[in-house]
């Protein structure tokens, strides 16, 4: 039995692929920025002196890290409207991705914070900085530097995980591939194209992270 790959028939659907790719990029950029911000704030919450804040942050992290992403997505898309929050599929997808990356990056960033020598806190304190200033100016930047590779990997996982939001009809790359294969019945070809595009995106993201690293961390490695 032989299967003849037929890529030329996909050419008319390039605009659909491009639109899907663009949505995937959009989702990835927004959720990376939002997720890392959320993770940073929660990491600060997890080392707070306030017991309540610490508890809330660790509950959030544990709940998200111990449930499937697709369930989180359905919960936000189908569950929240029941509580009166109207969300488009795109909005629900972004929120789910931000919340998901937020939880994982909280743990990653916290590991970097925990690795800060106690003397760094003390040096900041004896210079008269507030605890918050010590955190943001002294502790956080080297913490990021320490765990940067793990952060980069997690962001790529989130980009790949964005394919799951096709399940609530967000028209990203996987959704486009589904759509095209249902029109053309060229399922093998459609998913080959999608897979190659994801692969390319992941490689580009690694390059981008390496570039950001070179421009941001100028000091000798820690």
């Amino acid at each position: 039995m032989s299967y003849q790959l037929d890529f030329p028939s996909l050419v008319p659907f390039l605009p659909q692929f491009a639109a899907g790719l663009w949505t995937t990029i959009e989702l990835t950029v927004i959720s990376t920025l939002g997720g890392l911000l959320l993770g940073t704030v929660c990491a600060q919450g997890r080392i707070s002196k306030d017991t309540w804040l610490r508890t809330i942050c660790s509950c959030y992290v544990e709940v998200i890290r111990n449930t499937p992403f697709i369930v989180q997505l359905f919960f936000i898309f189908f569950g929240l409207p029941a509580l009166g929050f109207k969300l488009s599929a795109w909005e629900a997808g972004v929120i789910a991705m931000v919340i998901n990356l937020g939880a994982y990056s909280t743990e990653i960033i916290r590991a970097g914070i925990d690795a800060a020598p106690k003397g760094q806190w003390e040096a900041g304190q004896t210079l008269g900085l507030t605890r918050r200033q010590v955190f943001w100016h002294i502790i956080l930047p080297p913490a990021y530097q320490r765990v940067y590779p793990a952060i980069a990997s997690q962001c790529i996982i989130v980009m790949l995980g964005s394919s799951v939001v096709s399940q609530i009809s967000v028209e990203e790359l996987t959704f486009s591939a589904n759509f095209i294969q249902s029109r053309t019945f060229l399922s093998f070809e459609s998913y080959i194209v999608a897979a190659l595009v994801y692969l390319l995106l992941a490689i580009l993201m690694r390059q981008a992270f390496a570039l950001v690293k070179r421009c941001t961390f100028k000091n000798p490695s820690l």
């Binding site: 003397g119 003390e122 210079l127 008269g128 605890r131 930047p141």
Partner: protein
């Protein structure tokens, strides 16, 4: 009123009674060396003077401010009390200049140009004017420690606490750091040094405090203490470190 005054200070780590009623007064302009065996509570004593450690009984007053467990009060106190650590504790992601300027910008709210000018002056003073844009990770230990001193001085403290600041250095680098301390003494800075450098304590220090079993066991003028120790404990300590 003494610049630093400790009144019957008791400090426990759990069940470990580390400071057992320390009385100590230090005047402005004095250079005081604190010596004693490992575990005798020297670091703890120093850290009680700037609130890095809390004590359970007694009182500590520095520059007319009571040292208490209160974040706001300790922040005010930190303008009077500088500290230099054994392990430098420079901020690795900031250049030397940024290390020195951080607190003047964030705490004293000086303008960037003012901060920069001050940082350049201080680095000049510790002999590192050419390292303004270098990162700590590219400096020798002696250079890093001098940056740390400049960083403390940027807050114009009234007293500088130094906890074994030459202990992590290669022997040939100790001298350059001690020279900076001598220079500070000449300018009238109050220095409280936990130190193993007995020669420095004798030649540069005004007074020696010998800590033993959580107490100020013996104290006196430097030359006196070294020439004529009174207690058996100090005699045997001095014999051991020589």
């Amino acid at each position: 009123m003494s610049l630093v005054s400790l009144d019957k200070v008791h400090k426990y780590y759990g069940d470990n009674h580390v400071l057992k009623g320390v009385d100590l007064k230090i005047e402005a302009g004095e250079v005081v060396s604190i010596i004693g065996r490992s575990g005798s509570g020297k670091s703890t004593l120093l850290r009680c003077m700037n609130g890095l450690e809390q004590y359970q009984k007694g009182g500590v007053i520095v520059d007319n401010q009571s040292v208490e467990d209160d974040e706001y009060k300790l922040r005010l106190l930190s303008r009077s009390v500088g500290m230099v650590f054994q392990s430098f504790n420079l901020f690795p992601h900031m250049t030397v200049g940024q290390n020195v300027m951080l607190a003047t910008k964030l705490v004293l709210k000086k303008s960037p140009s003012e901060s920069k000018k001050l940082a350049e002056e201080l680095l000049e003073k510790v002999g590192l004017s050419d390292k303004f844009s270098a990162y700590p990770g590219n400096l020798s230990g002696g250079q890093q420690q001098r940056v740390a001193i400049a960083r403390s001085l940027a807050m114009s403290p009234k007293v500088l606490l130094c906890d074994e600041i030459t202990s992590a250095l290669d022997p040939e680098l100790v001298g350059e750091v001690l020279k900076v301390l001598e220079q500070l003494k000449a300018e009238g800075m109050t220095l409280i040094l936990v130190t193993h450098e007995m020669n420095f304590a004798r030649d540069v220090g005004d007074r020696v405090v010998f800590m033993n079993q959580g107490k100020v066991w013996e104290t006196g003028a430097s030359d006196e203490i070294f020439a004529n120790p009174q207690t058996e404990e100090l005699k045997s300590f001095l014999a051991a470190v020589r």
